[in-house]
Every structure is written in C-alpha cells, then in structure tokens.
Symmetry: C2
Subunit: 335 residues, 2 copies
DNA sequence: TTGAAAGCGCTAACAT
DNA sequence: ATGTTAGCGCTTTCAA
C-alpha cells in the first residue's frame, strides 16, 4: 500500500508541503499553533508515516551505527550488542547488526553493505587480523570511523577497546596450576587473531613460571567454532596425549570441547577442567552465567560506543586505545 | 566525506547518468560492453558506493524484513535471528533487528520505527497479547505482513508459528513427577503472554493426572526476567513453601531462580530441580547447551521466514498457523 | 545503445 | 507564518 506523504497532507489542507514538513518536524517557532494542530490531526487521520529513507537521503545523514561481530551465539556478543544499542539509542543513533560467521569474506560483504546504507560509524570485532585491512582503511578514509573491540588489529592505527589477553591468559593458567593441574593443554586460536597469539604467549609464560615443561604437542591449533573444539579433542585422543585441563581460545570451542569429552564419558571438571576466557576480562570454566559477564561487557560496550560517537562528532581526535582492566572474576561451573 | 555519485562518474566519462546507472545495475543488454567496462573501472577508481537509500526511495522497495524480539540475551532468540537472517538473505532480503526488552511501549516504538524505514514484512515474538493489537492491525492494514513466532497472539488473525505449550508443559511436569519430585512449584509467566497461560494449564493437568494436589500457593506470578526469578524464590522462602522442583516460564527467570537458590546454598539439581521450556519444543533443565537448541529453532526460523516471504509475494493468501511438533528433547543439566 | 526528463518523499534556503 | 524552489542519488519511461 502507498503511504500518505506530506504532499498529500498539504493538498488535503490546501497549504504547502513546507509547512507540513515543519509541523511534522516539530518546529514550534516557525509554524502557527492552529495550523500545526490541523496538520497533526490530518497526519494522524491519513495514517501518515514519515519516510525515513527520504529524510536520510535529503539530510545526508542516517544517524546509524553498524555493529559487526564474528558470531552472535555466545553471551558475550549478545550482551555487547544489547548494551551498545541501549547507549547509542540514548544518543539518538540507530544500530544495524551484521554477523560475519567467522568468515572474512562475509565480514567484507557486511562492511560494504553497511557503507552502502551510509552508516556513520562502525563497531567491529574483527575475524581476521589481516585479510580485510584494505576495507578497514578504505572506510576510514571515506570518513567512517571504525572502532575495534575485543578482537582488535595492530596493523593499522584505529581506536580500540580490549582486554590484556596475555595477563588474563597467564592468570588463567596459573589458576589451573595452583588448582593442581599438571597436564594443561591449550586449544589455541588461529594466528590471524591477535588475541589468540597473546593468550598462547600467556600460556607458555605461566608454565615457565612454575617450571612446568612446555610441550609443543600440548598446544593444538583448534580454531574458533564448536566443531573445532570437538575435532581438537579427537586429535588429542588419537595422539594419546594425556591431559587434566584444557584451556580453549573461544567460548564456542570450549563448548564443543566439553560436549565431545562428555560424549566420551569424561567427567567435567572432575577428570578434566575445561576453560576459556570470554571476550571481557572474565575467565570462565565453562559455562558462564549470563549475568556474570554483564559488568565487564558493559564496560566494553560503553567504551566502544563512546569512542565511535566521539570520532563521528570530531573526526580529527587521535585514535585511543582503551585497555579494560577490572579485577578478574574466576567462576567455576560444574556444568 | 562525500561519495562519488553516478553523476560524477557520468561527468568524468562524458556520458549520461542513465547509462552509468544501467551499467552499474548490471544491465547487460542495454549497454555497450565497452562502455560498461569503462564505467565499472571508473566507479572502482572513484570509490563509488551505491547509495541504497536513494535506490530504495526511488524503487519504492527496500527488500528489508524486520525482526522484533522481547530480548536477545537467551540463545533461543539469537539462534532464531541467526537462522532467519541466513534464510532471508539467501532470498535477497535484508534484516533489521529490534529488541523490545519485554516492554510493550518499546515494542510499539520499534514497530513504528521499522515502518518508517519501510520494511516489507516483520517477524515478531510479542511481549504482550493485547497492548499493541492496534499497531499490529494497523501495520497489517498498511500492507506489511506480520508473522508471529513463539510468543503469538490469538485476538487477531495472523500467520504464526509456535509450539504446543500445553503439551510441552504437561510432559515437563510429568517428567518431574516420574523423576520423584513431590513439591513442584510453577513460576508462572504473566497472563498477558498466551504461552504462559497454556503452560500453566499443562502444569495443572499434569498434577491432576497423577492425583497430586494442586496448591494455588505453589504457583507464583514470577514474570519473565532474571530479576523476576530471583524475587520469586525469595517470596517462596518467605512464605515457607516447601519445594523440590521449580518449573519456570522463561529461560531468563529460570536463570535468576537458579542463581538465587545457589546463593542460598541450595544444590541444583540435588535439592531442587530448576527447569523451563525454551521457545521451541525443547525442554531444558537449566542450562541448555547452545547446539542442543539448534534444530528446533531452525525449524521455527524456517517456517516464519517462509510465511513472511509468501505473504509479501502474495498478500492475499490465508493466514497459516504452523504448529511445530518435533519429538521432545529432554536435557538434564547439572549446572 | 544512449540521453533527457520526471520524480521517489523529504528538507532547507530564500523569498514573501 | 507560509510558500517557492532546488535538490539528495537514483531508476525508468520515453525519445532519439
């Protein structure tokens, strides 16, 4: 069905569309009170719906911010999105979401799409630290501020908000060791994700601190997905490697790891502790309660939202890096 | 920064913008191969980005579908969104998301917003069975098909996809009884959500079947949120009601319930089983593994996506109700 | 195969 | 306080 336009209203009332536009736009000083009332009533009566497409096109501004995440199945990203959306809405920005499904190609397509819709800024958790550098750079050149959160990149200068993955990883492994674990396996993330590199470093250094042997066999390239976790467990078993703890890179791979182990009749965390570090500075032994992650995630969402709005309003401010460092929360779950 | 437009390209090449438009629109028969090549190259060189706002405005079509959910913190809705997005994208539709945060006012605002952006259809899980009937009806009248999923409404005729909440609830309680539970408390959802009414009915009838006394005190009006679950537990304790199982309405309230009980040093599910029914026909004893819900949710997303696309293409087809009825999966979790 | 022109619905000078 | 006008960037007849 066709919607009534301001022209229709103007016709109906025998006035000009500018006046209608002013009235509907909430202009109080440049339109007669009487006229305004009439217009509002007629708009109501005709079922007028402001066409945001036309408005945005004309105003050359969308007040829309895009959020790009690798996945939306994990509480971390869901929470981030929810908070960011709240904060941005409050400042008059709309939010458009896109998932990359851990695929750089999809991420690239998503970014292009968001640019086509003329978003004014983007919050992104990258799924590859090199593959899309050209798009990032191009968008920034085009005047669209990109703010990276959680999965950040180092090759180009951008505003970012992240945790210290090295420290968190170190502490996590230390915690396992103090808990009596002797054979700690690391299901490392891909080297194209900065966080994965840092966490692996933390793992190594923690072992060293306690004079535990670093065995390359104990580090498995395990990817990021649920299925990746499952496969890594199978590899471990096939190779006959013994283990009493597995430190995974992503929450999804930790879930896959746990699921596979349980299928194989391991008791968790009795026989083997499965753990990971969620996007914030929260360490979890699978699975985190939803609320537990709220606070740190909220901080991240706040920082990222602030950064992108600042950049939009003042493109020339220098790129800021926010390193979140709230106290670490260690939760043990018996799931 | 300003983007290059088709006019800029046309100028640069000394041709008309119509030709540029045709070439960029992928028209192969009405534009010379040579010219097209030139145009594509120039577009690339000038960093041309098609302005979707202008396209949509001109074409009077957005190929966009809105999804409105009460919350996005629970795996159910996130999964639904992920699947629906995949399916719809495949058919050339974009997806815009909105959360109501369980608030009918916010839901109303969301719907208005989506209409302002001229979405061509909407998938919605309603947060109130009466409060927004007028908006629903109005949007339908305006030619925007609304498809309800999971939280459906009965007062107006709409296409919907849902599970049989009564049966699922009945089975859930039966399962608890067979598991030896004697004092099963129901944290009922609000009466303005149809599913809550149905589930309460299932709860009652199951008790009756096993000749267990139905005690009104055992049914607590417990809302939908995490905090609601916590409050309900406190009320239970304050009233000195004994219980060995709690059957919650939403996953969020179940999580709150569990959290509160654990704070009070109850062992779960040792002392008390906490359970709920997720949006699909999957019953969970808190907390569901992410993958476990995939299949049923996927069915729901498939059905809902199909319904909305059918309605868009042929507005006159009758409202269909899809009742999902895959085998029930009962999962017990020791979280 | 290309171009000219109209117009999608709206806003914002500028003029009255 | 209101009207006139000129676009925003694009598609799509209709002519050439």
């Amino acid at each position: 069905m066709k919607y009534a336009t301001i022209i229709d209203i103007a016709h109906e009332l025998g006035i000009s569309k500018s006046t209608v536009s002013r009235a509907l736009g909430g202009d109080d000083r440049n339109v007669n009170k009487e006229t305004k009332k009439k217009i509002l009533e007629m708009a109501e009566k005709m079922g007028y719906k402001r066409n945001e497409l036309a408005v945005n096109l004309r105003k050359q501004s969308t007040r829309t911010i895009g959020i790009v995440v690798p996945e939306m199945l994990t509480p971390f990203y869901m929470n981030f999105i929810t908070y960011a959306q709240q904060l941005l809405n409050r400042q008059g920005y709309r939010v458009t979401l896109a998932q990359s499904h851990e695929d750089p190609e999809a991420e690239r397509a998503n970014l292009q799409m968001l640019e086509d819709y003329r978003v004014e800024g983007i919050l992104i958790s990258a799924c590859h630290n090199r593959k899309n550098l050209d798009v990032y750079q191009q968008m920034i050149n085009n005047g669209i501020p990109l703010v990276f959160f959680d999965r950040t990149i180092t090759e180009i200068s951008v505003p970012k908000v992240k945790i210290d993955d090295y420290i968190k990883s170190f502490f996590m492994v230390e915690h396992l060791i103090r808990g009596g674990k002797k054979n700690i396996v690391h299901f490392a993330g891909p080297t194209y994700i900065e966080n994965a590199i840092e966490r692996k470093r933390g793992y190594k250094d923690a072992l060293e601190k306690f004079h535990l042997p670093y065995n390359p066999e104990n580090v498995v390239d395990a990817g990021v997905d649920f299925a990746d976790g499952e496969k890594a467990v199978e590899e471990l078993i096939r190779k006959g490697i013994s283990f009493d703890a597995i430190f995974c890179f992503t929450e999804m791979s930790a879930l896959g790891t746990k699921s596979c182990l349980q299928r194989l009749r391991y008791s968790i965390p009795g026989d083997v502790a499965v753990c990971c570090i969620s996007g914030t500075n929260l360490c979890v032994l699978v699975h985190p309660s939803l609320t537990a992650v709220e606070q740190p995630v909220r901080q991240m969402a706040e920082a990222a939202s602030r950064l992108v709005m600042e950049k939009i309003e003042n493109p020339s401010i220098p790129d800021e890096t926010v390193l979140l460092n709230a106290a670490m929360i260690l939760r043990e779950s018996t799931l």
